[in-house]
Every structure is written in C-alpha cells, then in structure tokens.
Amino acid sequence: MPIITYREALNQALREEMQRDDRVFLMGEEVAVYNGAYKVSKGLLEEFGEMRVVDTPITELGFAGVGVGAAMVGLRPVVEFMTWNFALLAIDQIVNAAAKMLYMSGGQYPMPMVFRGPNGAALQLSAQHSQAFESWLAHIPGLKVVTPGTPYDAKGLLKAAIRDDNPVIVLEGEMLYNTKGEVPTEDYIVPIGKADLKREGDHCSIITSGKMVLVAMNAADQLAKEGIRVDVVDLRTVRPMDREAIVASVRKTNRAVVLEEGWELAGIGAQIVDYIQRDCFDDLDAPVIRVHQTDVPMPYAKAIEKAAKPDLAKTIAAVKKVMYLN
C-alpha cells in the first residue's frame, strides 16, 4: 500500500470526489492560483478550472455564505478556511445558516456541504492562531464534526464528508499535513460517527481524536516498554460521538485518560467523561483524568507555549496516575 502524507491524502480525496461528482467545488482563500496555503489543493485548478476551484477575497463570512447558498440550490461546496481561527468570522453562516436550514425549513433544504481547514495549535503562532474548535462546533445540532488523525482517516473521512447530505466540519491538523501513513489507491470511505481502536491494551484506555491521536500512540509505545498496555480509542468523529466504543474500551480496561487539544471547561473531554460516568460507573477502578490545554490563551514564547499544550509527558503521567503507579 502506498505511503503518502496527510496533505496528499486530502488532495486525493478532493480530486477523486470532484472527478466523481461535478456538483462538488472547492472555494476559499488561496485555494486556486496559489495551490492552497498548505498546498492541500495543489494541482486542482489546473485539472478542474476556475469555476470549480475558486479563489475568494479574504472574506470568511461572505464566502461561507456563498457556500450555504450554493448548497441550498443543489451544489456540493467544499469551503476551505485557511485556519479555523479565521472561521470565527463565518460562525453565523456555520451555526445560524448551515446547521439550521434543514430543521427550520421543515426538511425542505438539506445542506450538502463541507467546511474544512487546519485546527488547533502549530508552533509559536501565539494566541489568535492556535485554537482548537472541536467543542465549539460539536455543540451544534445539525452539524457533523470529524477530526482525522492519520492520512488514511483524512482521505476516508473527507470523502465521506463530501458525499454526506449534511453540513460536515472537517478539522485537520496543521502539524499533521506532513505526517505519513498507508493509504490505499482503491476508493474507500471512513464512516462518519465510528471510532477506531488504534491500539489494543487492557490496562488503561486513552480516548482521543485528531492531532492528539499521534500523542496517544507515542504514549502507548513508551508505556509498552514499561509493560503497560494501553487501549487507544480514536473517536475520529466528535459529533455524532461513538459512545459505544468509549464504553466498550473502558469496561475492558476499567481506567481512562481523556486527551484533547482544547481547553478544559466545557471541552470535548467533559462530554466523554460524562458518558463514562453514566455508562461505566461500576466499572471504574480510578477517577478519569483529562489532559488538555492549560486554561490560558496560547503564549508565543517557546517554553511557556510547551507548558500550555497537552503532550506526551502529560499523557504518560496521566496514565500512570490513573493506574496508581506514581
């Protein structure tokens, strides 16, 4: 099986879906002539032309709305945000328009569209460019939210998102674009709403998604050297959330660490812990521990930026704590 980058996987997904369905088009800042700020759309302008690969002005609210309007009358837009931080300007279109159109029209107007782009912190981009939006978006009924952590999942989930008749949010990772993995050449999708058990173990569950999957896998490798066997549950989708997969893992291991990139209060992890306390109350051997970003805006300086982020060391420490090993 070919080994390609996360970036190439997304590019393949876009190309294949645009070849498959001429209602699919891509729009956003720098997606066409510049080949994408992160080169995810490289070569697409050449292949599909400027009507289907559309450079927009820097106007997130406006072009997100253009996507909504096009979806209302039968096209299947893929709206790229250069980063999800900029999508805050478009939140009215995502939350008030895309997520509610089907419901408030009594089922008359489906919204077959995708909003995608990099989410979360990269390196030293400081406060306005380093936010993880999983919990903001997962809060909204009418949306689906996927968070691919590997090239395989990136391609399969983006293809599924484009084929879905609902508005799907795809949260990619700036730091993931160069990561590599096996991706088949034949057509496939990754079903939205299904978690993936990325590593099997029986001592402790790490429940996570998106960029944090890599951190969890590294933690599992390190812990294995000490004889600690970790289950890594990659949610892959945070709305709808695969509650059964969470519960199955925790019932097996009786201990859980919930790892997320965002902040603690009202974070995705809070919902996961709620499912665990409701469904696994009698199965737990220790309180669940959450690993997340420190409750501050992201700083610039290297050392304190590192201190703010959830990482390998914090994850390993959390696993040991729920296992009462420290």
Binding site: F25, P57, T59, G65, V66, A70, A97, L102, N166
Partner: protein, 337 residues
C-alpha cells in the same frame, strides 16, 4: 442614478386584468397581516412576528416580474413576499400557528417561511446573514449556466453590515445574477436610517463596486417598482450582473408586535403623512380613474379576500400541532444507507 419614475395615471401600464391581479395581491397581504395581528393578540401566534403592512408595493412589484424558476430569499419580515410568490395563506397561517400543515411544518414560525416548490428560500433571522447566501445562489446559477436570477430582499439596516459588503463585492467581482433589494422603510427597529447609515442615498452603495448598477425607486407605486425591475432584470438575467435597488417604502406598524406604532422613535404626524401614500389606496385610486374598477368591484374583492383569510385561520386552527417525534426529525438528513 436616480430613477424615481412616476406614471401619470392616465396611461396605466399593463392591462386591466394584470392591474386587478396586482391590487388583489397587495390587498391580500394587507388583510392577511391584519388577521395575523388579531391572532397574535389572541395568543394563537407566538414569538417574534413582523408585519408587512405598508410595504406591499415592494413585494408585489418585484415578485410579479420574476419567473417561476427564479429564486427569492428574504428576511424575518417575510409574510408579504411569501404571499406575493403564491404560497397559500393556509400554509403560511398554519406555520404562524405552529402547526404541521405550515409551510415549514411548524418548525420555523413567522421568521422562517420556506417553500421549495416555489424557490422561496426562506425568511432569515439574522440581519445581513442571508445576503451572502443570495450571492451563493447566484454563484450556483452561473455554475450551472442557467439564466435565472435571485431576488434578495433586505431591510435598509442591512447596508451597514459586513455581510452586505462581502456579498456585494463577490457578486460584482464574479458577475452574479443577483438583485439586491433594499426595502427602505426608514427604521431599523427604532433607529432611523439617518442615525445608522453614513450615506443618504442607499442605492449609491453600488458605487463601491465596479459594474454594479444601483437605483432608487418609489415603493409605494407598484408600477414604478415593476418598471425598475424590468430594467434590473435585463441587467441581471441577460448580462449576469448584480443590481442594487433601493425601494423606498414605509411600515405602518411597529417593528414587531411588542412596540408602539408611533410616539417613541417616530411621530404620529409622520405616520399620518405616509398613510396618505398608502400603496393600495394609490393603486386603487388610479384604477378607479382609469375605469378599471368600480367601488362595488373593490367591495367584492374585499369580501373574497376576507373569506380567504378567515379560511386560512380556520385551516390553521384545525391543523394539529407537530407530534413529539417531529422534535427529532430534520436535524440531519438520514445517511444511514
């Protein structure tokens, strides 16, 4: 570009049948809205409710010029345009009553009337939010190579939002067949337009975009609106270029159901002055003068419309409320296949 054209009343445009139809459409909106006000007072209708009384010349003038395959999108003050488009009084009243036979199955209410069969893309509740959506519909028309247009109604306060500018910029840049229609009723809720917009002639906002034509027109004169639409449609449909129309009108009621008609942000004297230019009375007078209509014809029309509105009320009242299962329907399209 001023285009405040008035017809002289002696040579009325169109034929007598068309003129009667226009009058009928306007009168239906007026009487329907009066009935809505009554139902609201009795608690049959809840939530926010914005009446269209006084502005009927705008909806009627614009929509009577559109083709069935053209698109319409509007704001939360949407009852008038929905009726002018041909949505049934029954389906609208049932929606206002929150019943299953409503045009949005009781899920939307007054601010969110939709009818897919009539390309009526909804009433939208966030000021300015629907203007980029209209540009998107224009984009889709162009993408598919069609010759439809979209008419996007908005209140005058929209011209101060960022969404308005972003949408008009893209519509001009990409040459989209969009008619941006400002219904200038002089007040954004209780704030007079001159206290909110740093420009007097709102149609001049089009000057900010190369290739976008703008004009203003008297919205109390349905023929003036139609004439302006004829030119605008030529531009949008044939040349695939957006147009900005400022249609000057007045609302005779409060912003919604909870505020006084006059006495706070506007005077009774101002209201009385505008009542003299009631779009329905103006049309009626000219039709009398032209011999299109007698007083007894008009009385018969009133009677017929009264019956239609009462029928809408009775229908809505008899329609069931949505079942509890409906609560969970239409959140997402089922994609389990």
């Amino acid at each position: 570009m001023a285009a405040k054209k008035r017809t002289d009343g002696k040579h009325l445009p169109g034929d007598a049948a068309l003129r009667r139809e226009l009058l009928h459409t306007m009168l239906l909106q007026r009487r329907f809205e009066e009935k809505v006000g009554e139902a609201y007072a009795l608690g049959k209708i809840g939530g926010f409710c914005h009446l269209y009384i006084g502005q009927e010349g705008v909806s009627t003038g614009v929509i009577s010029m559109l083709r069935p395959d053209d698109y319409i999108i509007t704001t939360y003050r949407d009852h008038g345009q929905a009726l002018a488009r041909g949505m049934t009084p029954r389906s609208i009243m049932a929606e206002l009553f929150g019943r299953v036979d409503g045009c949005s199955r009781g899920k939307g209410g007054s601010m969110h009337l939709f009818d897919r069969n009539l390309n009526f893309l909804g009433g939208h509740g966030i000021v300015g939010g629907h203007v980029p959506i209209a540009a998107g519909v224009g984009f889709a028309i162009k993408y598919r190579g069609g010759d439809q247009v979209i008419a996007c109604f908005m209140g005058e306060s929209v011209v101060n939002t960022g969404a308005f500018h972003e949408a008009l910029n893209m519509a001009a840049l990409w040459k989209l067949p969009c008619l941006f229609i400002i219904e200038n009723n002089k007040y954004g809720m209780g704030t007079a337009v001159e206290r909110a917009a740093a420009i007097k002639d709102l149609s001049r906002r089009s000057d900010a975009y190369d290739g976008m034509h703008g004009e203003y027109v008297d919205g109390q004169d349905v023929f003036a609106v139609r004439e302006s639409m004829e030119r605008s449609l030529e531009t949008a449909r044939r040349e695939s270029k957006p147009v900005l129309l400022e249609i000057r009108t007045y609302r005779y009621m409060g912003h919604s159901m909870s505020d006084a008609v006059s006495g706070t942000y506007r005077t009774k004297a101002e209201l009385d002055e505008y009542l003299k230019r009631d779009p329905i009375n103006l049309l009626k007078a000219r039709m009398y003068e032209a011999g299109d209509l007698t007083e007894s014809d008009f009385a018969a029309m009133e009677q017929e419309i009264k019956t239609i509105c009462q029928d809408a009320w009775d229908f809505a009242d008899a329609s069931p409320e949505p079942s509890i299962e409906a609560l969970h329907e239409d959140v997402l399209v089922d994609t389990t296949s």
